[in-house]
């Protein structure tokens, strides 16, 4: 039957050569060296490596979460992200409850991603949404694709730094014009923890159902299950172990599995330090490079009052917790890709794709600076922080992604 879909030879088995496991050496050695220096460096490295691994294995792409709604009526990734947000919401609430036992006092947990909500949040989210679709990956997505060998993602990351450079040079204007006076709305202040958690879970459930409804509106077609070549049934303990390893290292995880794993990492990091976020660090790189070429951003106002992904400032050492986290994501993804036999240098053939990645990166970088975070910091860590800014940013980003999807259709 011609209509049959067969996945004939997806290949089986772990890396062809045992020495492929040598890729584990780099993460391990860096971890051990970092441990000698400072415990936090080792922890951020370990979380970064794990996050890169998880995101690569599940191909957890925030861009596709939004973009594929518009282009394909597919919501599988977005639904996975919503489940992950739900898990993180409970974990974050436990942690914040220990930091601020009585939210009615008006106190806000310092490291939670509770950020000023206003025009900057909306503008940042919109720009980020457009830029990430153009660039073919959000900021954390570009980090993990850099590790997988995507040349376009290295270009996009360069664009992000240019965008952050531009934002940092206009930051003080934005700060005076709006951000300084924008309210930070932490839901538990008025609703208490119970009310804030219930509201967040209800909104997440509504978003989940709306996604299902939207998927139903797709033009009907017969989805033929892609048949996978059935390996011989396991016959020994060795086969069982091999099969278990393959499920982790070789086969693609579902987006929901990836999102849940990412949320568990986020909770673990927040218990000891702070929630996940990558942009503040990249902003620091942009500022340091700019200063090297005689374009210092000067003193950025209000940074010490902002949690989340506000630009970090270089102190004694260039090797910081954020550096270890971001570097860890790239190396973790590289490791996962090699073990899955998916690593490959991917070089765009059309010159205009480089322009597109760079331009998307610039727009996305400016938006990430303005909105104080990317899909990770301003969205994935903000909604579980029970902060209003997470929802506003998400809505603006979804609108931006819709606009971006209209643009890229014309750039085929």
């Amino acid at each position: 039957m011609a209509m049959q879909a067969v996945e004939a030879t997806r290949g089986s088995g772990l890396p062809r050569h045992w020495w492929a496991f040598g890729v584990l050496l780099l993460p391990t050695l860096v971890y051990l060296v970092a441990l000698q220096e400072r415990a936090s460096l080792a922890v951020f490295w370990a979380v970064g490596i794990s996050a890169g691994f998880v995101i690569q294995r599940s191909r957890l792409c925030f861009v596709s979460g939004f973009r594929d709604l518009y282009l394909l009526h597919q919501g599988r990734t977005l639904r996975g992200l919503i489940i992950g947000l739900g898990i993180a919401t409970f974990g974050f609430a436990m942690i914040m409850g220990a930091i601020v036992p009585d939210p009615a006092t008006g106190a806000v947990p310092q490291d939670a991603h509770v950020l000023p909500v206003g025009i900057a949040t909306v503008a940042g989210g919109l720009l980020f949404g457009v830029g990430m679709v153009l660039a073919g990956g959000c900021v954390s997505g570009s980090l993990y694709r850099m590790g997988e060998g995507y040349v376009a993602s290295w270009v996009a990351m360069g664009g992000v730094m240019v965008g952050l450079f531009a934002l940092n040079h206009t930051w003080n204007w934005w700060w005076d014009a709006t951000i300084a006076t924008d309210a930070r709305v932490w839901l538990p202040t008025r609703l208490g923890y119970t009310g804030a958690i219930v509201l967040t879970v209800v909104l997440l459930a509504a978003a989940y159902i709306a996604t299902l409804w939207w998927e139903r509106r797709a033009p009907a077609f017969a989805m033929i299950p892609i048949k996978r070549a059935q390996p011989a049934p396991p016959a020994s303990v060795g086969d069982d172990v091999r099969a278990a390893l393959q499920r982790v290292f070789r086969k693609e995880w579902s987006p929901a599995a990836g999102a849940i794993a990412l949320s568990l990492l986020n909770i673990a990091l927040f218990i000891r330090y702070r929630p996940l976020g990558v942009v503040g660090e990249i902003s620091r790189w942009a500022n340091d490079f700019a200063a090297q070429v005689g374009q210092p951003a000067g003193v950025l106002k209000g940074l010490d009052t902002l949690a989340g992904c506000a630009a970090a400032v270089t102190g004694d050492s260039w090797v910081t917790d954020g550096f270890m986290l971001n570097g860890g994501i790239v190396v973790g993804s590289f490791t996962a890709a090699v073990l899955a036999r998916e690593f490959r240098l991917r070089i765009p053939r059309q010159p205009r794709r480089y322009v597109q990645s760079a331009a998307g990166g610039v727009v996305m970088g400016y938006g990430a600076g303005l909105g104080l975070g990317c899909t990770l910091g301003a969205f994935y860590s903000a909604i579980p922080s029970l902060a209003l800014n997470g929802w506003v940013y998400a809505a603006a980003m979804a609108a931006g992604a819709l606009a971006g999807s209209q643009i890229i259709r014309r750039l085929t």
Partner: protein, 80 residues
């Protein structure tokens, strides 16, 4: 159809989402409308889950083959 007929190949290596899928759709809809068989070469793993459903919407069967590390051939085909 005889086996000697060359199967058209669409090489989308180096392209990232959503282009492998969009370019495949364009090939099926505009460049070669009604083509009975098409081979798409990609090095973008997510395309393995976006191209097949779109091709199925157009009545094609799908077969995926791993050509080498990080590179796949997606064969789309239908009866005349």
């Amino acid at each position: 159809m005889t086996e000697t007929t060359a199967v058209p190949v669409l090489d989308v290596r180096g392209e990232i989402c959503p282009y492998p899928m969009l370019r495949t759709n364009k090939e099926l809809d505009e460049v070669r409308p009604g083509v009975l068989e098409l081979e798409v070469i990609t090095d973008h793993p997510p395309a393995l889950s976006t191209i097949p459903p779109e091709a199925m919407k157009r009545g094609y069967g799908v077969e995926i083959e791993e050509v080498r590390e990080g590179e796949w051939k997606i064969r789309l085909f239908k009866d005349s």
